[in-house]
Structure formats: structure tokens, C-alpha cells
Amino acid sequence: MPSSVTKTRIILGLILASTLGLFAGVGGYTFYYGQGFSYLSNDPKACVNCHIMREQFDGWQKGPHHAVATCNDCHTPHDLIGKYMTKAENGYYHSKGFTFQDFKEPIMIKPSNAAVLQKNCVSCHVEIVDGINTHPGDPKKMLDCVHCHRDVGHGPIH
């Protein structure tokens, strides 16, 4: 258990790391202009800063989780370190994609992020899925929540 001092150091370091992630993606100006700092917050608007995320935002607002879970609750690890690491990595892709418009549409979740997602489903719903051998993280044994609950995040896709 790190002392609170070292903890804040870690966090600061990670913020820097994730910032660098964005810098690596496009350089500071984008990061600033695209309101990069809000990217580190839990506010969904942080995501919707990119109109590209608009669809998911609208979907989420209609979805069953609107009242109970924000983007980060589902899409970033719930433990601090993983959270900012993921954001540093995604921040890189997102800014790069957004700036160079070189990403494929429709946007589809990457396997690494799907795994993060699954972990988050389970961690919130641990009671109800208690009986069904979820094996989060183990691709072979895992029971993919989204296989059946495709629409929980962003409403029905069709």
C-alpha cells in the first residue's frame, strides 16, 4: 500500500503519461484545443468533445445505464493505474484518429478494450453473475456479456 505522497506522485506521473500519449498523437495544441484535460475526467462530455463520439453519447443517454454508469465506468479499468494507462493509449488513438480522420467507420471496439469492458460489467454485476462462471479476461473460458447484451451501452443497434 503506497503512502499517499507516492500515490499522488504516481497519479501525476500517469497524467503526464496520458498527456504524452495525446501529444504523441497530435501534439499539444490538439490536446489543448480538443479540451484534452477534460479527457481525464469522468464527465461523458469529455468524450463527446469529439463529435465522433456523439452517436455513442446519444445511444448511452437512451440506454439503460444512463443513470448508473458513465463512459469511463464501462470503458476504462476501475483501478487507478490501469485507468490512466488505458486513457494514455486510447488518447493516442483517438486524437490521432480524430485529427487525421484515418480511422475506420463505423468505429468498432478493439479486443483490448472489449476485455476492459467485460471486466467492468462483471465488477458491477458480480452478484447476479455470481453463479455463471464468468471467467473475465480468459478468452477461452470467458462468457462474453456483450454477446447477449449488445445494447446495454448504447441502446439497440438495429
Binding site: 462483471v122 465488477s123 458480480v126 455463471i132 477461452k140
Partner: protein, 452 residues
């Protein structure tokens, strides 16, 4: 705190065990003490409820549609063929069907492969017959016992079992993970893996092939969980035949799972189920190819397993469990379909019915064609046509009847793969009518009667 929760979720079986269960525990009631929810739903497979084309009321198909007495003329199925019902009845219904009770049919122990909890019977007989002991020889014991039991007489063999399919037939006792153990299936799926037929719906087979086809493909170690949710069913819901004198239950998947690929295997090994009593053709009997037909459908391709629809999760208070009341999903549309298809229940039913009605109309059309061919052949025989004359037309009856029966014996009335079912029935019609043309071309004038 999150971590504690997480670890809890990973702990595979946290329903804490009140009794010890092992691979030797056959009685489901004992397992039920540890898993009361699954056990309660498992026992409900005694329920009787009918749907438009399926359900669990064991009505007599031969009365429902007497045409089938002609089609099965000279075969056990021509005496008794009922609608199947819940798992709870599998042993009773087999013991009581005229296909077994009527001594003239002399059924072998092979029949039990899919009608009872035979795993331990196989292992015990295997050990008795000298198979090496020890967990590492698990399969050797099963295969050995399987050989022993298959060739026994049914009356002898059935004494070795007392339960319908039980927990142990689908689950590994310590982890409760799914596990397949039926020798007919293990041999069949390996033959399929060895073939070059694409299996987009069984990724683990394609992976095994890509990785150099090392040793034998083994579902229990290679298949992922979603695949296992179908493979446990494929131990029984498949086409099969009894091979040779040993009566070994064999799944004819060596050339692939499609209707014509199975046919080509039977032609290669020169198999026939019986000589048709009215037409003299060497014909085949198809049995419940649910797994094979499902394999050709869009659900399989989309990774939707048998259990997804036939054992959907059910909320039980705070937790959800797999509904072990295995039955028609139409009796349970909310759980079976609506999590994936967010549309009203009536609309889901309407879609299924429109698929099944189309399939039924084609089935009736194909029946009529096959029966017309059978009568045409019968007439020609009466008029003294030789076997040589009739061979080409009889071969067409074999092809046509095989396809018709494949979709008729399959139990979803075309739902598992609607387009594929229609394709198969279209071929059945074509071959049957071509057969009539051949007969008519033989001794024409006399047979116009049998033209439609």
C-alpha cells in the same frame, strides 16, 4: 474493494457445496443438493406443452401424417414414430417404443448412447474389459466400454443404466465446466476436423487445422466455452448410424456436415438403413440432425449456441442461472430470444411461424413427390420391370427420400437454417420427379395413373 469483488467473480464455483460430487456421482438428486436451482429446472423437463410444430406432447407422427407409413414401409419407424419430448423421458420412451419392444427389430445396446446417463456404464464396462485404469486413461476406458455396450442386446444393456441424461453427461464434477464424453461424438468431431470442410461456426477446429493438425482434435481442451455450449448437445442431437457388426454408433461427418456430404459418406461405405418394402430401393433414414442443420444457419455463424436459446439464463432472485428446463424456446421467448432481439414477443413468434409455415409447405410438396415416386416404382414392379430397369429410379428415390427425411426428422421445422432447409427440400422434389420420369419412360402407357 473492487478487487475482492472481482476475485469473487473469478472463483469458478462459489455456490458452496453441501455434498461432495465426483465423476462417479450419477444421481442428479445428489448434485441437486449443491445446485438446487439448476436441479429444479432440470426436473421440469417432465412438463408437457405443445407448440405449433414442436413442443413436448408425444403425439404419433404416423397418425398425424399417414403418408409416412408409406415412406417408412418395411422399417421400424413405420410402426411407431412420436414427437419427442423432455429429457426426463428419454430412457422411458426408448424402452417403451414399439421400435424396441417389438422383438422383430432386435435393437442393440448402441441405442443407449443418447438415451441414458451412460458415461459411468461405459467406464465400468471398459475397465472390466481390461482398459487401463487411472484418470489419464479416461477416454480409453470410455471407448472400450462403448464397444462392449454397443453390441450387447438392448434388453441386456439397458440394465446397466437407470437415469436419463444427467449432470455428469455434460459437466465435469470438480469445476462444473462443460465436458463432452460420448464416444460417438468424440470420434465424429475428430473425423470432421480431419476433413477440409470449413467450419466458421467452430473456430477451434479451424485453429487446430491452422496450427498443423497435431494429434487428434480434442474438444474438451481446444473448444472455447461458447462452442461447448453447443457441443454438449451435439453428443446426441445429430444424424448417426450403427457401423458394422459391432453396432458402433457412428456420426457420418467424414466429408462434412451438409446433407450431400453425409450422403456421399454413406455411398462410399455402401450403407443403407433398409430396403424399401414397396419400391425395393436401398434407402437411408435420417435422425434428428439438429446440430448439422444449425451448423448451416446464420445463428451458428453468429456464435449463437444451442444453450443460448434452449437453456437461456433465468433470474433466480439475486443471481441468474442457466434454465435446465431444456425445451422449445417458443415456450420461453422472453429469455430465449428477447435479450438479443429487442422486439415484441408477438413479432418474434410471427417471424418464427412465417419461417416454419414456408418450410412446412415445402415439406408437404416434397412428401407428395417422394410418395408419387414410390407408387410409380411399386406399379412398375407389379408390371414386372427388372431391377436393372429400376436401378436408376431407385437411386433417385434414395437421394430424394434422404433429403426429405433430413428436414422432416430435424426438429426445428426449418428454423435452425431456413434457406438451407428450403434448398434441401427443393433437391428432394427435383430428384423424386426425375425418378418418376425415368419410371414413366420405361413402360409409359400403363403408369400414367401415377403421374400427378
Amino acid at each position: 474493494f473492487q478487487n475482492i469483488k472481482a476475485r469473487k467473480a473469478e472463483a469458478t464455483q462459489n455456490a458452496f457445496r453441501v455434498v461432495e460430487v465426483s465423476d462417479k456421482t450419477i444421481d442428479p438428486a445428489v448434485w441437486g443438493k449443491n445446485y438446487p436451482r439448476q436441479y429444479d429446472s432440470y426436473r421440469r423437463t417432465v412438463d408437457i406443452e405443445r407448440t405449433k410444430f414442436g413442443g413436448s406432447e408425444a403425439f404419433q407422427h404416423l397418425d398425424d401424417d399417414p403418408v409416412w407409413r408409406h415412406i417408412f414401409a418395411g422399417y421400424a419407424f413405420g410402426t411407431d414414430y412420436r414427437e419427442e419430448r423432455g429429457h426426463a423421458y428419454m430412457l422411458k420412451d426408448q424402452r417403451e417404443t414399439e421400435r424396441v419392444t417389438n422383438p422383430k427389430f432386435k435393437q442393440p445396446g448402441a441405442c443407449l448412447h443418447c438415451h441414458a446417463s451412460t458415461l459411468n456404464a461405459y467406464i465400468d464396462e471398459g475397465l472390466k474389459a481390461g482398459a487401463p485404469a487411472g484418470k489419464e486413461n479416461w477416454e480409453a476406458q470410455i471407448q472400450k466400454g462403448f464397444e462392449v455396450v454397443c453390441k450387447m442386446s438392448y434388453s441386456e444393456a439397458t440394465k446397466l443404466v437407470e437415469h436419463p441424461v444427467s449432470c455428469i453427461d455434460c459437466h465435469e464434477a470438480d469445476t462444473m465446466n462443460l465436458r463432452v464424453n460420448r464416444p460417438g461424438f468424440l470420434n465424429g468431431i475428430r473425423a470432421l476436423a480431419k476433413s477440409d470442410q470449413p467450419t466458421p461456426h467452430l473456430p477451434s477446429i479451424e485453429r487446430w487445422r491452422k496450427e498443423g493438425r497435431k494429434g487428434e482434435y480434442s474438444p474438451n481442451t481446444e473448444a472455447n466455452r461458447q462452442e461447448m455450449r453447443s457441443l454438449v448437445c451435439a453428443q446426441c442431437h445429430v444424424e448417426y448410424y450403427f457401423k458394422g457388426e459391432g453396432k458402433l454408433v457412428t456420426f457420418p461427418w467424414h466429408n462434412g456436415l451438409k446433407v450431400e456430404q453425409i450422403e456421399s459418406y454413406y455411398d462410399q461405405v455402401g450403407h443403407k438403413d433398409w430396403k424399401h418394402k414397396e419400391s425395393g430401393a436401398d434407402v437411408l433414414k435420417a435422425q434428428h440432425p439438429e446440430f448439422e442443420l444449425w451448423s448451416q444457419g446464420i445463428h451458428a455463424r453468429s456464435g449463437v449456441s444451442c444453450a443460448d436459446c434452449h437453456m437461456p439464463y433465468q433470474r433466480e432472485g439475486a443471481i441468474k442461472v442457466s434454465n435446465h428446463h431444456v425445451r422449445s424456446p417458443l415456450l420461453n421467448v422472453a429469455q430465449a430470444c428477447q435479450t438479443c432481439h429487442r422486439i415484441p414477443e408477438e413479432e418474434i413468434r410471427a417471424r418464427v411461424v412465417s419461417i416454419q409455415d414456408r418450410n412446412k409447405a415445402l415439406l408437404d410438396r416434397a412428401e407428395e413427390a417422394v410418395v408419387s415416386l414410390i407408387s410409380a416404382l411399386a406399379d412398375a414392379m407389379k408390371r414386372g420391370s427388372t431391377d436393372a430397369d429400376l436401378k436408376p429410379a431407385r437411386d433417385l428415390q434414395r437421394k430424394a427420400q434422404w433429403r426429405l427425411d433430413f428436414i422432416s426428422a430435424e426438429n426445428s421445422m426449418g428454423f435452425h437454417a431456413p434457406q438451407e432447409s428450403a434448398r434441401i427440400l427443393a433437391e428432394a422434389i427435383d430428384y423424386a420427379r426425375q425418378g418418376q420420369l425415368l419410371v414413366l419412360a420405361l413402360k409409359p402407357a400403363a403408369v400414367t395413373a401415377s403421374a400427378p
